[in-house]
């Protein structure tokens, strides 16, 4: 009887899988979006929303915040400005280049007033409902 992984047959089947594999387990390819997404917290406040994005080192010129109905989109590009000639990277874990983050709100926020600010390296976005 063939039961469990202890039977040599299942071992052999695994070997065969290696040879004639449908899925290439060796590559460990993972799907992704086209750009990277920074992490974000969303707080609900008395008069609107506060969005905190883990996005240090992005200059304001390279940041674009946009609202479309209930969707808040943050796009931009983080560039490595510390690199100097003669430096050699020993390790790199911070993701640079273009990013984007879309946050879906439960209700439309079009027309809300938006202010953004940097605090302790976080990008803080205040979305305030229209005063009416």
């Amino acid at each position: 009887m063939i039961t469990g992984d202890n039977f040599p047959y299942s071992l052999a089947m695994r070997d065969i899988d290696k040879e004639f594999s449908l899925i290439r387990t060796d590559r460990r390819v993972m799907p992704s979006g086209r750009l990277w997404n920074p992490a974000a917290d969303v707080y609900r406040s008395a008069d609107g929303w506060i969005v905190k994005v883990d996005l240090a080192g992005v200059c304001s010129d390279e940041l674009e915040i946009e609202i479309h109905e209930s969707l808040l989109s943050i796009r931009g590009c983080r560039r490595d400005t510390h690199y100097r000639d003669g430096f050699v990277f020993h390790q790199m874990e911070i993701t640079y280049s273009r990013f984007e983050k879309s946050i879906q709100f439960p209700a439309p926020i079009e027309g809300a007033s938006i202010r953004h600010d940097y605090k302790d390296g976080f990008l803080i976005i205040n979305v305030r409902r229209e005063q009416d």
Binding site: L22, R27, P31
Partner: protein, 842 residues
């Protein structure tokens, strides 16, 4: 130029507006990306990473190992830029060498990626990249230290026919569900990704990167400019993979139902075959095997007839499925044909002086044997095309028959092969079985030739006298053909069923006895008898070969063991009983082992073994050969016998039985010997007057004849002379001379006929202390065989009639007269005659 936040968002692509909102998080499909470093839509310069056997697609994250110098330089250069962008382009598959790829080896379309992570490892670095968009190389900028090119960003694949794309995509997803059911070990992220993703382009790219498609297919997909084309390619590829998967799963489930451990290998092979067949790759297997056989057949030199047959068999083989039972039969047959040395001979290097040297080096003595061997070799040298002689060595065990064969092969420079015929009782063993039988094999002759690898080896047929011969078959009949120079140039083995030329083989046969060899077989061979060795020869052989060999075999140095000559002589005489030297060697070996023990225990440095110490090493002597008796009573005579172990002295004892009748014979005598005893008595009876015997004695006294040792069967006519002497002595009262031994066959008319084994018999008699020997005069020629030193000690008397024998054997004086038969007493004076005084000539 980077875009600033003030720029208005671009108008959404009209074709994909329906999907907007569903794809969060992420960029809306079809939307071109902004914030590109080198400005939107404009070609820009970027480092290029060449990928081997791998295509990177947009919207995938892939870990990569970086090791080659150009790749490392490219990554380093990308890391030095603010955005860490690098273009990944695949190397064309037709590039075979393993060096760093140059721009010419690369495709033109690849993927722009950002390096998300980098860590250094021992050999290089590991990076994780994320594909963003497709790029096309506009212009190569540099090759070294890394590849660099100006690239332009390619737009996302356009959708031409949205319904078609949507339909294909749904189909794809269905197929994926199907495939996932068959695959047990898919990581959940992958499962989620392929089922959750609803965007056709993204799904296709991801499928392309996880399916094992090969570089060419993958490149086709990355170069697809419309979503329609992309989805179609993904569908076709996945369909093929799913089919293989289903097939495999079908085989697996079918196999599982009846599989046990032993069948495991078979099932795996079946799976592989099924997969190969599905891929159109089953060209290897049997086709290749027959092809290989065909190639080998073409290369090998074969006689015309053999080639025709081999070709015919090969054609049959090609038509047969490998599972057919005949398949393996034919294959082994063809392989056997290939291995046989049909036309391959070794070159003879025949130098008679060298041959003589080799024979002398390997064997002591045997002068006449060597002489005859050299004669044969001389003939071969003068007429190389002559039929090789077939030599038969006859002699007792251990005299060197087999090793003479080896020496002949060495002297001729030919291969030596030996096969023992002892106990072979089936003709098929020599001639093979027909191929119709399961497990049929060629006969031993053909197998020996294959082992020899040439068609002119020296082939030794050991123990031809021990061939079985009964109702189960008569192999000697097959030997007749094999050994007949007129027929054996086209010997047909049953298995081969093709004529093989045996006439170039130098056959040497050995036997212990001529008797059991059928006459027609004997007739085909040149018989060379090898007699036993004399004590002197044994001493010489022990000194030259046996002691050095046993010393070395038991791990001693040449100086560490010495055996004195008298010790060797004593071993030969008292511890062994043989014509050859095998037991002698074994006994010397056991001495050597005991000496080795002493030396290993550091009790001695070197040991000399003399005759006095033999008892210590070997115990008491095992054999007491019959010694000449100092005095023989009337009625006892000394005879000589031939045995396989050499010669022996034996005594024939006769006594009168008053009132008895006829002749009682005891001592395990064979029929021939009993008859010769009867003939002896009859002769003496009929010539009683001539020898001064009272005829009445035959009538009134019985005679008992006994030959010790009683347990050993004896036979043969050669004791006739001795029996006659014993009886004559008994009837006349004249004793037989104790220093005399005799042999010879007698006839009823009183003639003495020649006998065999003269050398062995004389040697045995000499050993026993006899100094006078009576031999048939027609054996005078055999005296040349007797070693000079032995002959020197002996007085040989040649006789041709019984009267001469008795003259030579019996003492003149009557020592103890026979009793007078009662009939004479009754008829005569009624009293016994006065006994004559006993007197012996000193």
């Amino acid at each position: 130029m980077p875009e600033s936040s003030q720029n208005a968002p671009p108008a959404p692509d009209p074709e994909t507006t329906t999907a907007a909102g569903q794809t969060a998080p992420g960029t809306a499909p079809g939307e071109e990306l902004r914030f590109s470093v080198q400005g939107n839509g404009q070609p820009f310069e970027v480092a290029v990473l060449a990928l081997q056997n791998l295509t990177l697609f947009p919207e995938t994250v892939v870990p990569l190992g970086i090791g080659r110098p150009r790749s490392t330089a490219a990554v380093e250069s990308a890391l030095a830029t603010p955005e860490k962008l690098i273009a990944c382009i695949t190397v064309r598959p037709d590039r075979s060498d393993d060096t760093d790829a140059s721009s010419a080896d690369l495709y033109e379309v690849g993927t722009l990626t950002m390096i998300k992570r980098m860590e250094r490892t021992g050999e290089g670095m590991r990076i994780i990249v994320q594909g963003t968009e497709r790029v096309r190389v506009v212009e190569w900028k540099q090759q070294d230290p890394h590849l660099r090119a100006v690239v332009e960003i390619l737009p996302l694949p356009r959708t031409v026919d949205p319904e078609q794309v949507e339909a294909t995509k749904r189909n794809l997803q269905e197929m994926i569900t199907e495939a996932l059911a068959l695959l047990p070990n898919v990581p959940p992220e992958v499962r989620l990704a392929v089922l959750g993703s609803v965007e056709a382009t993204r799904l296709s790219y991801f499928l392309a990167s996880i399916l094992n498609l090969g570089v060419e297919e993958e490149q086709k997909m990355i170069e697809a400019n419309t979503a329609d084309e992309l989805v179609r390619l993904a569908h076709a590829n996945l369909a093929r993979e799913v089919e293989i998967l289903q097939l495999r799963s079908k085989i697996a489930s079918e196999a599982q139902t009846e599989m046990d451990k032993a069948q495991r290998d078979y099932v795996l092979r079946q799976q592989m075959r099924a997969i190969q067949k599905e891929l159109g790759e089953d060209e290897t297997g049997e086709a290749a095997e027959t092809e290989l056989l065909r190639e080998r057949l073409e290369k090998v030199e074969l006689p015309e007839e053999v080639r025709a047959e081999a070709d015919r068999e090969l054609k049959r083989l090609q038509r047969l499925p490998p599972a057919a039972p005949d398949y393996h039969v034919i294959r082994t047959y063809l392989e056997f044909i290939l291995e046989l040395p049909w036309l391959k001979s070794s070159e003879d290097k025949l130098d008679l002086a060298e041959a003589r040297r080799i024979l002398d080096e390997d064997h002591y003595g045997l002068e006449d044997v060597k002489e005859r061997i050299l004669e044969f070799l001389a003939v071969i040298k003068l007429r190389p095309d002559t039929k090789s002689p077939i030599i038969l060595f006859v002699g007792p065990p251990g005299v060197g028959k087999t090793s003479l064969g080896r020496s002949i092969a060495r002297a001729l420079g030919r291969q030596f092969e030996r096969m023992s015929l002892g106990g072979v009782r089936d003709e098929a063993e020599l001639r093979g079985h027909r191929r119709t039988y399961i497990g049929a094999m060629p006969g031993r002759i053909i197998q020996s030739i294959r082992r020899a690898g040439v068609n002119n080896p020296v082939l030794m047929l050991d123990e031809v006298d021990k061939l079985g011969n009964d109702y189960r078959g008569d192999p000697s009949a097959a030997l007749l053909e094999i050994l007949d120079p007129q027929q054996n140039n086209s010997f047909r083995d049953h298995y081969l069923d093709l004529p093989f030329d045996l006439s170039k083989i130098f056959f040497i046969a050995t036997a212990n006895q001529l008797g059991p060899i059928p006459a027609p077989l004997r007739d085909r061979m040149e018989i060379i008898p090898l007699a036993g060795y004399s004590d002197r020869e044994k001493l010489e052989i022990a000194r030259r070969y046996l002691i050095p060999r046993q010393t070395a075999e038991n791990g001693l140095n040449s100086g560490q063991l010495k055996v004195t000559d008298d010790a060797v002589e004593l071993i030969a005489a008292r511890y062994t009983r043989e014509a050859g030297v095998r037991q002698l060697e074994r006994t010397i070996g056991s001495i050597a082992r005991k000496v080795a023990l002493k030396i290993a225990q550091a009790q001695a440095e070197n040991v000399t073994v003399s005759a006095n110490e033999l008892r210590e090493y070997l115990g008491p002597p095992r054999f007491y050969p019959e010694q000449a008796r100092k005095e023989l009573p009337a009625g006892v005579a000394t005879g000589m016998a031939w045995t396989e172990m050499g010669g022996e002295v034996l005594f024939i004892e006769a006594t009168l039985l008053p009132g008895g009748r006829g002749l009682t014979i005891t001592g395990q005598l064979g029929e021939v010997m009993q008859e010769s005893a009867r003939a002896a008595q009859s002769y003496l009876w009929s010539h009683a007057a001539e020898f001064g015997i009272e005829p009445a004695i035959f009538k009134e006294f019985g005679v008992h004849l006994h030959v010790p040792a009683g347990a050993i069967p004896k036979d043969g006519p050669s004791a006739g002379v001795t029996i006659t002497s014993a009886l004559a002595s008994l009837y006349t009262g004249r004793r037989v001379r104790p220093d005399t031994a005799m042999t010879g066959e007698i006839t009823l008319s009183g003639l003495v006929f020649p006998i065999g084994g003269v050398k062995e018999k004389v040697l045995a008699a000499h050993r026993a202390g006899i100094r006078r020997i009576i031999l048939p005069s027609r054996n005078e020629a055999d005296v040349d065989d007797i070693p000079e030193d032995v002959r020197h000690d002996l007085q040989l008397v040649f006789v041709s009639g019984i009267a001469e024998v008795l003259d030579a054997a019996l003492e003149v004086l009557v020592a103890n007269p026979p009793p007078t038969p009662p009939s004479i007493i009754d008829a005569g004076r009624g009293r016994l005659p006065e006994p004559e005084p006993l007197s012996v000539k000193s």
